[in-house]
Symmetry: C2
Subunit: 344 residues, 2 copies
């Protein structure tokens, strides 16, 4: 907390708090006709289609305030929702943010949280148009709803993949999970000895993947530019394995995923080695990478093959062939939604 | 809980739970193109304007599961959001429901909660199109976002009232608050002696106002039928006093509210007397009545004067005259957002 003044929320009241949190909002999107300040926001999407997604984050389950700065939390809670809109090949325009807080939070703490929300809005060109700020008996809960738009013909669902389509992923995987493992290790050390300084050097990338992830709006823009419409798409919030199974189930296909093709950063592998975790597990089941997983028809391969943002990691098959990980040793292991190596 | 079987959520898993909760959903609205099952819902409002509102409810603050049945809670959490859409003179079409639960809740308990959500969707013709079901360390948190639509020219904001407009309210006020007082009294008795049966006879109306409120979609339909467009409107969630001040502030007017005009039910007054509470306080500051407070131009008076759903409770004035309660004794007392008798 940079600001050392701590004002009790009861001193400013609910309406005073809302005014402090929303006074600097400037509307950026044509489709936002009325933001905060009435019973509802008013939007106009004209002839475009509207996409809506929402998530709920609770303290102690989705985040630990021992090592997650409030500003990062505000930023991330917006970004993870934007990611769902990009996964539809659409563009986010508005968000609604609901927050429940216990009395342990000061006005300044809430402002710090909101500074992250505003920063994400700024970066992604999204308008904060409403929300509820209320009390909780314990801890912090955040609910974010995001609204986006696109032309009907641009929308990409989970259900359009066909056998032989290429399975592709953006960026690299497993980093957010390894960043979390590192933060938890250092938090345990800190709990034993408060004078210990956390050992985080050399791991800035995976820490940022965990604490300040970005949503791949740049990819949606790139698709448009290079003239690709994926046949199916989903964002990676729960881990590659689970997301692939969603695509296969919704598209009624199987798939072959190649272990040696899964993109992983050097820091991810190094941290995994340090903690004796198989990095493949981080990629398959770690989650929170917020990369896009999508399928394209084979004819589109030329358009993406030289772009380092994209990696072809497998291909779709007939549903009867199942969903398989082809290991480096060449054997096929069935993927499992809750972890391919579950029960071993 | 009718169903005595108690299944742990961990037995069915997150995806299993979502499937149980959403399997019977049938889409009712043309504007709902795709509901649950992808990264986002897909909606199409064509040339209509879109209104969005959202609320967060937390256990122990907004509801007490000691005396609020889960089905009622699910119902009410939807209704209070629909009320915001009606307050814009619009029609709700879709909702998104996020729920965080601690492990004390069984699958059957969540289904009971959702049965209330589904019942409200059924009654108000709204589609449940998405949401998040997740864990919490303690208690239950519900976040509902509702999306509605109307033609641009129908929208009513808080800001359109003019001096001399009539201030009107639907239904009666203070009932939900007195219902809550009754439930809390009986809960205290029960905590002292578990064998005591609650004394609720003769108070069915105020109990229903608290436990199973309705949103006034019928009024929005009536406005259309009788050809009225209010000059401003808000729903009564925080109490009459606070809502009047919102209309006055947003419209830059003052108002005179007449004590003797405020509609209250017999049960509300009787319970107030029994508990030695001034019923006026229940109406002004109690909240949760979910009636509509609106202003109309004087020329429209003829259209509403014989309708028992509407009561004229005052009129708007120049902003310099302030926001006043004209008491039965004829004196003017300034309204206060946190209660007109605050600090006395």
């Amino acid at each position: 907390m940079k600001n050392e003044k701590q004002t009790q929320i009861s001193e400013v009241g609910e309406f005073g708090l809302i005014e402090r949190l929303t006074k600097n909002i400037q509307i950026k999107n044509e489709s936002t006709l009325k933001g905060v300040g009435d019973d509802a926001a008013v939007l106009d999407f004209k002839n475009k289609q509207v996409v809506v997604s929402s998530d709920l984050l609770t303290e102690g389950i989705h985040f630990n305030l021992m090592y997650v700065p409030l500003k990062h939390l505000g930023y991330k809670s917006v970004v993870v929702n934007l990611s769902d809109i990009f996964a539809m090949n659409a563009v986010p325009r508005q968000i609604v943010v609901n927050i429940a807080l216990s009395t342990k939070f000061s006005v300044e703490a809430v402002e710090e949280l909101y500074s992250g929300v505003h920063l994400a809005c700024e970066k992604y060109g999204v308008d904060l148009v409403g929300g509820d700020t209320t009390s909780s008996l314990t801890g912090l809960t955040l609910s974010v709803t995001v609204i986006g738009e696109t032309e009907k013909e641009n929308l990409v669902y989970r259900s359009g993949a066909k056998p032989n389509d290429l399975l592709c992923v953006t960026g690299d995987l497993g980093g957010a999970y390894m960043g979390l493992q590192l933060l938890e290790r250092e938090n345990e050390v800190f709990k034993v000895n408060e004078n210990m300084q956390p050992q985080l050097q050399g791991y800035d990338y995976i820490l940022e993947r965990q604490l300040k992830p970005e949503a791949r709006g740049d990819i949606v823009a790139a698709f448009k530019k290079i003239g690709i419409k994926p046949t199916s798409m989903i964002d990676i919030s729960d881990g590659l394995s689970s997301e692939i199974m969603h695509l296969c189930k919704n598209s009624n296909t199987g798939c072959n995923l190649y272990e040696d093709k899964i993109p992983m950063d050097f820091q991810t592998k190094k941290m995994a080695e340090e903690l004796s975790i198989n990095p493949l597990v981080a990629a398959l089941n770690g989650g929170e990478d917020y990369e896009l997983l999508f399928t394209i028809s084979i004819e589109d391969y030329e358009k993406i093959k030289n772009d380092p943002d994209f990696t072809v990691i497998g291909h779709m098959t007939n549903v009867s062939e199942g969903t398989n990980l082809i290991t480096n040793a060449g054997s096929a292991v069935p993927l499992e939604a809750q972890g391919w190596n579950h029960g071993k």
